[in-house]
Amino acid sequence: MTAPETHLHFQGRNVGEVILSVEGVSLAFGGVKALQDVSFDVREHEVRAIIGPNGAGKSSMLNVINGVYHPQRGRIRFKERQFTDMDPHEAAVLGIARTFQNIALFKGMSVLDNIMAGRNLRMRSGILAQALRIGPALKEEIAHRQEVERIIDFLELQPYRKTQAGRLPYGLQKRVDLGRALASEPKMLLLDEPMAGMNLEEKQDMCRFILDANDQLGTTIVLIEHDMGVVMDISDRVVVLDYGRKIADGTPDEVRNNQAVVEAYLGASH
């Protein structure tokens, strides 16, 4: 189909200013300390990885960033705005999107609707207008449908548009999850183990999508991943967590040679 003018701004890859900074965040559930005084920052357009053994508090970190959990101490600054705690949807409005470790798709809805839902926070038409589905509402619906179709093309999901998300194979669900996150045109994208349980081929595809998103759409990426190979390949900088503490932070090479990290992993594997 003919490509209409789009809101997705294409631009080359250039790591910019600090967009997100996490400052001394601590989080606990009852007695369990999930995070203790963790601080790091994320630059615009970069790919930032958070790694660490299981139970290191990686997912909790993401949940804190987009407001699912509220830290007891510390604060988060996103684009010059400070929060001690915010609601997930506020985060979404500010442009923080995320995918989930164990996929959280809307199983009852079609792939199309799942991704469309990702654009909900950009849709304005009122209840009555929707009910009558007259001019503006319908126009809006179509306009956003076009955006979504671009994402569907981008993620090569064309054949599955009308399929129920719940019925898709695992790999594709992960892809839809990514698509839903991208649909909101986020400034920053939090990926929680986007490649967990994938075979090599799928992983390669996923890597491609992530990198494309990163440099074509200029989305900042924060990802959690276990596959060291992948992490080292695609990420600019890496934070390492262990038992809720930050034990290392730097470029892949720095981290690779960091003693604490090595021990942590050896310790974990023993």
């Binding site: 987009n66 699912v68 609601d87 997930p88 949807h89 985060a91 979404a92 409005v93 999107a97 995320r98 989930f100 959280a104 798709l105 809307f106 199983k107 009852g108 809805m109 609707d113 469309m116 839902a117 990702g118 654009r119 909900n120 926070l121 849709m123 038409s125 209840i127 929707q130 009910a131 009558l132 589905r133 509402a137 319908l138 619906e141 179509i142 449908r145 076009q146 179709e149 839903r180 996150a181 909101s184």
Partner: protein
């Protein structure tokens, strides 16, 4: 004509966004509507109108309303007859105290009153989920039962606490005979069906379904649960409010609070479960099933001239009704609507199943 969609390519999104993308479906639907408007009025008897069709049409509106809440937004309510009551009494008082007001306006306003009530009793849904919420909604039921029985103003100080209405006059058309009522209600139902269908296809509908399928994820992608849930409660209650007003004015004519008791609420729930949750069409099937079944069960013995006492007959009615409910839940948990869909799939492949 074969039931096929191949060869029907959508060149625009607008075309793809139609309510019934398949040509044959559209034709069938128009045919059905034409039949309902042009043939039924002459074919059906008063009894069929008054005891089956009219209640069916009204309760379908209510069932659609409840389905928006339970089927689409995933919030269970066992108290929706309360909102029908609110609608009915709101309509009665408007009709009584503002005689010049057009009945359509009365209906809409009644709906809004119900919607307000719906939002209030929807507030717990922000804190509690699932069955807890379901039981909590009973509060609405019992509170409305009480309020309309006690606060005399609602019943215009009628010493019996029972209110009664007169035939409605709409733009000079007095809706009095069963046929009139049927036609009016049919029109109302069609309008409300289209509105509901559109809502569920819009971004509000997606917000509801997202909240239903995975509330945390929904919030993460920027859907405010407060908004999704309360709109669902409000709109659902709006539908029930309108249905309630119609139930009072078009079906009962005179009623007391008991007319909107728990049994009605439960029947509404049955309708959407049997019909199919999250399916507008299902609401139709469900309403038809629940309206017709007891009446039929109750009369089967007579048709076949089986000598059986009234008591036994109605006991049997209870038992068979209950058994059928369970049977349905076991055989087709997704309701009649699913059967319908499966049937269509088969038809689509016919006569070349592969």
């Amino acid at each position: 004509m074969l039931y096929r969609e191949n060869g029907q390519f959508k060149s625009t999104y607008a075309a793809d966004l139609q309510m019934l993308p398949i040509l044959q479906d559209r034709l069938f639907m128009f045919g059905l509507i034409a039949f309902a408007f042009l043939v039924v009025p002459f074919a059906a008897s008063d009894y069929l109108f008054l005891s089956i069709l009219i209640p069916f049409l009204i309760l379908t509106v209510a069932a659609i309303g409840l389905n928006l809440l339970v089927g689409y937004c995933g919030q269970i309510s066992i108290g929706h007859a309360a909102f029908m009551a609110v609608g009915a009494y709101a309509a009665y008082n408007l009709w009584l105290r503002v005689p010049w007001m057009n009945f359509l306006v009365v209906l809409v306003l009644a709906g809004f009153c119900a919607a307000a009530a719906g939002m209030i009793f929807g507030i717990p849904s922000l804190r509690i989920k699932g069955l807890y919420l379901a039981v909590a909604t009973l509060a609405a039921q019992f509170f409305s039962d009480w309020v309309f029985a006690r606060v005399k103003w609602f019943t215009d100080y009628a010493h019996s606490g029972s209110v009664s209405t007169a035939p409605i006059d709409l733009f000079g058309w007095t809706i009095d005979t069963p046929t009139d009522k049927y036609l009016f209600l049919l029109a109302v139902l069609i309008v409300f069906t289209i509105l509901a269908k559109n809502l569920t296809r819009g971004h509000l509908g997606r917000a509801w379904m997202a909240t239903r399928d995975m509330d945390v994820a929904a919030e993460v992608i920027g859907i405010r649960p407060v908004y999704a849930k309360l709109t669902a409660f409000a709109i659902s209650a709006f539908y029930c409010g309108v249905a309630g007003a119609l139930w009072g004015f078009m079906y009962l004519g005179a009623w007391e609070p008991l007319a909107f008791n728990l049994t009605l609420s439960l029947n509404l729930l049955f309708m959407i479960i049997i019909g199919g949750m999250g399916s507008i069409l299902g609401s139709y099937f469900g309403a038809a099933f629940i309206v017709a079944l007891p009446i039929i069960l109750n009369q089967v013995p007579q048709w076949f001239g089986i000598p059986i006492s009234t008591a036994t007959a109605s006991h049997l009615e209870f038992m068979i009704f209950g058994a059928l409910i369970v049977l349905f839940l076991i055989l087709e948990p997704h309701g009649i609507a699913r059967l319908w869909a499966v049937g269509k799939e088969k038809l689509r492949l016919w006569p070349f199943p592969h």
